[in-house]
Structures are given as C-alpha cells and as structure tokens.
Symmetry: C2
Subunit: 251 residues, 2 copies
C-alpha cells in the first residue's frame, strides 16, 4: 500500500470568515479526488488562521516595558514582540532576529509562530496561530463528514525550526481523527527483542510530508490530500506530541 | 503532481556483504515499479549498516574509565557506553537510560544511533551507523544508475527524538543526488513580501514521510520508493542539514 499526497490545486486566497470545508471540497473536485474513509486533509496554519480572522494590525498594538526591552535585545519591532509575548507562556532563548518561546499552545517555536508573510491586508498586518488548532481541526472534520459522509482525519501544520538542524520542517499544531504520537513499545521486532525508542511522532511525520508538497511560498497549495496513512484512525490531540517540561533536557 | 511513497515488499533480511542495489531492484520488480529519472530511494539506516558489516559484539568491547563513570550515571552497560563514546564527538546531555551526543557525523542524537534491535547475530550485538552515510548513498546511487540507466536520489534515514516534542521522526543521515536543505529566501510570496524563515529541510521532510511507511518494527520494509519529490535533483550532502555549533542556542 502506498502513501499518496496530492496538493489541491486552485484554492483561492482565504479571507476571514471563509468556509474552509467548502474550499477544500471544491479543491478535491478540481483534483478529481473523491473523499474516502480514512483519507486525511493537511492544512497550512495560515489559511486556518486567516479564515478565523486571527489578523492583527501592528498599528493597534501598544508594547509594554518587557516587549520594549526584548525588542532592543533582538532588534525587532516592539509591537511585534508584544504580540509574541502575548501568545507565549515563556521566552526560552533569544538572539538578534529570533525569539524562541513556549507558545501558549504548549510547543516551542520561533516568534510564537507569528508571521507577516502572505497577509493581504497590508504591510503592518500579522497573523497569529489559530486560537485552538485541535478544535479547528475537529470542526473542519465534522463539516467534511457532514458534507461527504466520510470520516477523515485533519491536521493543521506549521513550519518549525529544530534545535540542532538547519531548515524548517512541517509539524502538526492541531489534529483530529488521527493519532498524534503512536507508542509501539513492547512490540517485539523480528528477533524477539522489545523495541526501545518507539514512540513515533506520526502526525509530525505526516506534517513534514505534506509540507514538502506545500512549499513555503505556495499560497496556492495550502491543502494536501493524503491517502494511505498507515496508522488506524482514532481520536488524537496535539498534546500527544508535546514533551512534558519535566522531561525536557534542553531549556 | 502527487508525491507517492511505496514501501518495497519482500526484502530479505540483510546480511553483511549483501548488495543493496540488487535487493532494491528486485524489490522494485515485486512492487511492479520501474525506476524513472528523479525517483528517490529512501533506506533505513539499519540495512545499510548491516550490509556494511557495522556490527559489534559487546563481548569484544573493553570500557574505559569515562565509559564506566557515564554508565553508572545512566544505568547503561559500560561496554555499550564505550561504543557510544567512540562514535561521538561530545556528550550533550544525559540522564538514566539516555545519552544525547553529537555524533561523529555531526548531528545530535540519542545513544549515538547505536541499536541492538533487529540484529540477527545474538543478544550482545549492536549496530553502529554507517561509516559515512553520504558515501554509502552515493555508491548506491551509482550502482542503481549503472543497473537501470536512471539518475535517482538516495537518502539514508534514521529515527531521531526531538528536544521538545515526544516521538521520534525520520531524519536524513546521508544523501546523494538530491537537496538536503533548500534556501528559498528572497523569493517573493504572493503579496511581494520576501519570505523570511525559508530554509527548508527538504531531505528531512522526505525522511519523515518515508519513515511513516517503514514503521519501526518493520524490518520487512526498510526501503521506500518515492516519486514526485517537488525539488530539482542536485548534488546534496548531510552537511546542509547540520546547524553550525556557533549558532546553536541549545547546548
């Protein structure tokens, strides 16, 4: 059985209030794909955030003292730093140009995932991550099921840097109807040893795969259809993929 | 254009000295796949290491003082710790059960990538990573080209943990004939902004995708055929994916 990832062609630029399930179903039609049970839709965070209206104008932001201080240390706009701090639980590291935070959603990422790229409204607009990406994925899943009759999985992804490797990779920031992390421990391998390091970040592996097909600039392909995901569908959540802070050796 | 990943069925257990290109070509035949230009073969590290005879018996290892000390702190076999240290440039972190190192190949990983799972020769055997996975990939690529006439890419992958997320994901540890990291900076997005964080770890994204189709216990599917990789073929190397230590905020 093969895994097939198909970017949906011709999606329009998403605007606040747009119905993503309608856009996706139309994109599937254009790709001549009919949803099947256990298919997965992978969405770039940006279109979810835009549909949910998570756009902030810098002109509307007043930086506090902490943001002003951190902005000086990082050579960033203090209003943007204010937004980053408001979306974060903790600043983990910073250097000029970069603030690594624990996001309020629980993962560690650069600049709280806030981006000005690809926002239509103007130069001083920034896009925050969805309020609750697991909920966004679950809603979209329910809408797709209502429209198609099929139970699909949904993953919302973003591109994150890694501690020790260059280049970003796609990672899951919200999911529904599919596993986040699968624990294969205790399954014997071919020679009867118990497998050791066998918690597998399956939703992140799929996020990376889909990210390949989205590119970075490709606003036109922010949705990828997946068929052949090899793990059984189940309820899933971002929390499966987040390391407990007490077991984090790298803060 | 879709990305399609097909695990090759029916590969035999690899033994030291085996010709991987022969095994892969036979597996492609069984999958009814004919190599095309720009197809990519993704190989699990274990079969490359085994074919290259990178197997060490613990009984042949004498731990030094440093290994004995670190073994006590981590509750590991001192002979295994000796192997880990011999394969590493630096110990980055440790706790009971885990030693995170900078591997001699330049990446940060747990236990120097040394594994006893799936080694046939006996309980006290461990498998080291290939001596030079970029070279292994280049050799295999040349053999596949000689046999098929097609220029393919080759990636050798392993499963690595992440600093802040649970679960392992597939990452590239050696590659040939395809990019490791692609720098998209300077390309304008749809609204004319320059993209910012746009070094993309494309070989790692593909490694994660292929890892999904290998599973962890699946000795039977250590090779995945990829068609539709969206970045142009070129010379590539693991080094593209390694963060310069001077820019590493997390050691």
């Amino acid at each position: 059985m093969a895994l097939t990832l198909t970017p949906l062609p011709g999606l329009p630029l998403v605007q606040p209030g747009d119905d993503l399930s309608e856009l996706i179903l139309a994109g599937l039609d254009r790709a001549a794909l009919r949803l099947q049970e256990d298919d997965i839709l992978v969405l770039a965070q940006k279109i979810v955030s835009k549909a949910e209206g998570r756009i902030v104008r810098l002109a509307d932001v007043t930086p506090g003292a902490r943001a002003i201080e951190l902005a000086q240390a990082t050579q960033k706009d203090a209003r943007l730093v204010e937004l980053i701090l408001a979306e974060s639980r903790e600043v983990v590291r910073y250097r000029p140009g970069l603030i690594v935070v624990e996001h309020r959603l629980g993962f560690v990422c650069a600049n709280a995932g806030i981006d000005h790229s690809n926002v239509a409204e103007g130069d001083d607009c920034y896009l925050l991550l969805p309020d609750n990406p697991d909920d966004s994925a679950a809603r979209l899943r329910a809408e797709l099921r209502a429209a198609s009759g099929k139970r699909t999985g949904v993953v919302i992804i973003d591109s994150h840097g890694r501690a020790w490797r260059t280049g970003t990779v796609g990672v899951a920031i919200g999911l529904a109807g599919m596993p986040g992390c699968e624990d294969l421990r205790g399954q014997p391998d071919l020679f009867g040893y118990e497998l050791q390091a066998t918690e597998v970040g399956v939703a992140d592996e799929l996020a990376a795969a889909a990210s390949l097909m989205m590119g970075q600039a490709a606003e036109g392909t922010p949705v990828v259809h997946v068929r052949g995901f090899p793990y059984p569908a189940r309820e899933g959540a971002l929390s499966e993929l987040l390391r407990d802070k007490g077991r984090d050796l790298f803060r």
